[in-house]
Amino acid sequence: MTIAKQPDRSRSRRRLLQSAGILGAMAATFPAWADPFVDLDLPGGPDRRELTTAFPQKGPMILQRTRPPLLETPREVFDRGVFTPNDQFFVRWHWAVIPTEVDVAKFKLTVRGHVNQVLSLSLAELLAMPRVELVAVNQCSGNSRGLFQPRVSGGQWENGAMGNARWTGFRLRDLLDRAGVKAGAVAVRFNGLDEPVVDGAPDFMKSLDIDHARSGEVMLAYLMNGEQLPLLNGFPLRLIVPGWYSTYWVKMLNDIEVLDAPDENYWMKTAYRIPDTPQASVKPGETGFKTVPINRMVPRSFFTNVRDATTVKPGAAVPLRGIAFGGDCGVSEVELSTNSGESWQKTALGKDEGSYSFRQWSTTVTAPRTGTLALQLRCTNTKGEVQPAEPNWNGGGFMRNVIERVQLKIA
């Protein structure tokens, strides 16, 4: 990191085009990724974000913050399939001290605390653990925070702080068994190689209850979609907590501590707390409610081939498609309404890649002759939980999952 300005490819491209006076003429012929800016649809703005290719191992990403990096996946990526490519998978870090180098021959994972035997394992030893593979959605607790009304502070994401990948690695349970968890253990805490910038600030750590940690589903991944993880997504090792928000998916995981008392660290006790209410929802300004650590995800669904103001022809057959996920279980159905939620029609579901994966949906509707085509979309998960008609609200901007609405233009 230096004071000298890093080359900014997208900005210099824009300058070049402007100086040639052909920006307007060229824009339409450029592929979407070459556009140096993206306009999000956040109520009240600000909407404009740079589209950056300046981050290592990353393709075009929506720049929410340079340091520590917050990079959002561009919308069109979700239209290409259920697997989010590693180089466009969203990025979110809390502290700016992130190693830029990882030597795989020297990296060690420690397991310590309330165990019979402290472990310090090399990647070679970890690669030899019994291997498991799982497809799972990784979604930021604050995904879609920028859509909250009233607006709240924090990373102003649209819907792209999520992604879906095939994770390969080994079970946390197998690792804990190798260390031997002592009786009386209540939680397991995870820490990565990132560190606070300021002395005395809370290092980012998260923990899971011991039963959850030993459930057999929680895993440590060294491959993401068959490749090693991008550094910014947690290379060389990341915790995978299927069905739970990304805050628990600790990146660059190198330290696991079994606790014999509840975790009181800042990131569990104070941050990432949600109201202990239905939909984690409260009224703006409300106080005095109980809070709990954010935990399981809730069902969501998205249109990926149309958005507000997409124009369709009068009377045309309009193909619609998108993705959905059940939260902490599978997708039962994805339904579309063309009459403001009075009635719902099922859509066709794509290949099932597993309970925790994105699932594609598709259907076709007929556009009216005039006016607009207002569409609503909702997912019901295999537990029978359905997306709510009214948006939730909380001060953290967490757990948005309201029914999706778009209004297409007829012209």
Binding site: Q6, A105, L123, A201
Partner: protein
């Protein structure tokens, strides 16, 4: 409350420290020499999977908060995060901004002098007032 040694070693606060001297050519804060590259070629293989060492750099931002009365925010807030974090925030009330600054000081140990807080909050409120409601 100081910046951590690792942060200093990594050059993270160089931007903060250099702000007063942010005239072009403030090269005194150039990045420390990169670690020897000898290890970067190393790999680890097991069960048909090969992991390769990674050595890279992250882009930084030298963006400053614009306008007059930005000294306090530029001097205090850019060590931990780039300016874009703030400039992308929605319109927030004075009370919300006050709470944000206090959160940075109390929970995240931002080394912000209490005497600078009013100027920072004023700047943030002014920033909000320029945005559409």
């Amino acid at each position: 409350m100081g910046l951590s040694t690792k942060a200093v070693a990594r050059g993270v606060p160089a931007l903060l420290l250099a702000l007063a001297a942010l005239a072009p050519g403030a090269a005194a804060f150039a990045q420390p020499a990169a670690a020897p590259a000898a290890s970067t070629a190393s790999t680890v293989t097991g069960g048909g999977v090969t992991l390769h060492s990674v050595s890279t750099n992250f882009p930084d931002s030298d963006r400053l908060f614009p306008g007059p009365a930005a000294d306090a925010i530029n001097n205090n807030c850019l060590a931990c995060h780039s300016a874009g974090m703030v400039l992308t925030q929605p319109r927030l009330s004075r009370a919300d901004w006050q709470a944000e600054v206090e959160k940075m000081r109390s929970f995240y140990k931002a080394p912000v002098d209490a005497t600078d807080v009013p100027a920072i909050v004023d700047y943030l409120v002014g920033l909000s007032s320029t945005k559409q409601p």
